[in-house]
Symmetry: C2
DNA sequence: AAACGTAATTATGAATTCATAATTCAAACT
DNA sequence: AGTTTGAATTATGAATTCATAATTACGTTT
């Protein structure tokens, strides 16, 4: 790292935004639950002011809901929100695919190729954890390869808002196999740097994931999705 | 309106987020300027706490930059940010076009048809103000017609972050004429509810607007764009 | 005169305090 | 018994206070 790098001491509220968002995304704070202001202040060892500042930010990001004079609750992810969010993520991924084909160098593609192989191996041994990891790495690499900060931040934000839901999607064997096929097709487009084609495949990949998720939800019949 | 509607009293910080964002978007607070905490507290008649909460939210939205122990400044819109933002807006509009064709009813299309006519009239008389207004109404109507809250809010946020810049774009007569043609083509697709086609045209329309803006900026040679 | 160092001032981040709204719980009443 | 009313408690929104970091002003030194 640079020797004269700016000293960076994140303010309390920044730190708290991170920590609280993690608590929510990692499901330590569950949707619908009240955010226990007092307890959190005590356990983090901070006063209410920075914690409340953090809550306002998280509210604007959509992770919590503020009710006047009634405190904050963790936002529930409704079916409607899911249906609104997936298409937007889908077009963001489409854009990422287009841009990544332009910007990724050989090394970058090689890295994705490696993760793709890891994903195939995980599928072969039906190792869900390894599969999810490799899968996420690939999408992440493509997003970052697009070299567009706005795209990256928006994608990250929307992705984390529906993070929990995505885990429920790849349940069925058929869907899993289909997803693998889709990834194979994506890799082909990436290898020849066909941005247009990769983008369309990524969009469709997301759309299919959404559809699969909806089927899974309908099967269990909950209109409300746990984060 | 419903007789038993919930009483809604926006909290101070919500109110302040709105007001401050307007001050920034409307250029009353200029990019790079310090946000004068004290003055604003005085003129709004509130204490520092809610104002600072509002600043944190605006920072997470990208309108201000917080410097530790050095207060907040209005975010500058850099050339890089512009280049990152336009492609994202473009794909959001693409999605809007696709969805709007599905969701808009005859009345909705008629309303856009009317605004389109108003836009043509404004172009004929070279009335820039009326043109901008009609143009914005059309895009707004298409976004809302998509009936996707996430899409709408993201589009609104990104749009307002580069609002100022967009005013600089339609300077040249050629670009203006080209934009009109693009809108004509868009209307054709909308009339036959060709979502795919409309989406692609809207994306290209944005891409062209971006290109025109860059040319305008290059001509005057500023790497930094006033909001 | 320029540069440096130090004190005074100011601005900022965060804790605390305060007023008020919401909730809880118990007693009174139907 | 169940419901309603009202005091007590608690939680929340916002103002104020406090400690510290940053800036400015000023004097000293070379």
């Amino acid at each position: 790292m640079s020797l004269t790098e700016r000293i960076r001491r994140p303010s309390l509220h920044e730190e708290l935004v991170e920590r609280l968002r993690n608590l929510i995304v990692e499901d330590a704070l569950k949707p619908g639950e009240k955010v226990p202001e007092k307890e959190l202040c005590a356990s983090f060892g901070v006063s209410r002011t920075p914690l409340r500042e953090a809550l306002k930010v998280l509210a604007s990001e959509g992770f919590v809901v503020l009710n006047a004079n009634r405190g904050a609750t963790v936002a529930k992810v409704t079916r409607e929100e899911l249906d609104s969010t997936f298409p937007v993520i889908a077009v963001l991924e489409q854009l990422a695919g287009e841009l990544a084909c332009h910007h990724l160098d050989a090394a970058g593609i090689a890295r994705i190729e490696e993760r793709h192989a890891a994903m195939l191996a995980a599928f072969a041994s039906r190792d869900r954890t390894a599969y999810f990891q490799a899968n996420q790495d690939i999408h992440q690499a493509l997003i970052q390869g697009a070299q567009n900060d706005v795209l990256e931040s928006q994608h990250k934000l929307l992705g984390s808002r529906i993070r929990r839901a995505r885990f429920l999607a790849n349940l069925s064997e058929e869907r899993w196999a289909q997803a693998i096929e889709e990834h194979e097709a994506m890799m082909e487009r990436l290898r020849v740097r066909d941005g247009e084609g990769l983008g369309q495949l990524m969009k469709r990949h997301m759309t299919n994931k959404h559809a699969a998720l909806l089927r899974a939800l309908d099967a269990e019949g909950g209109s409300e999705v746990a984060r």
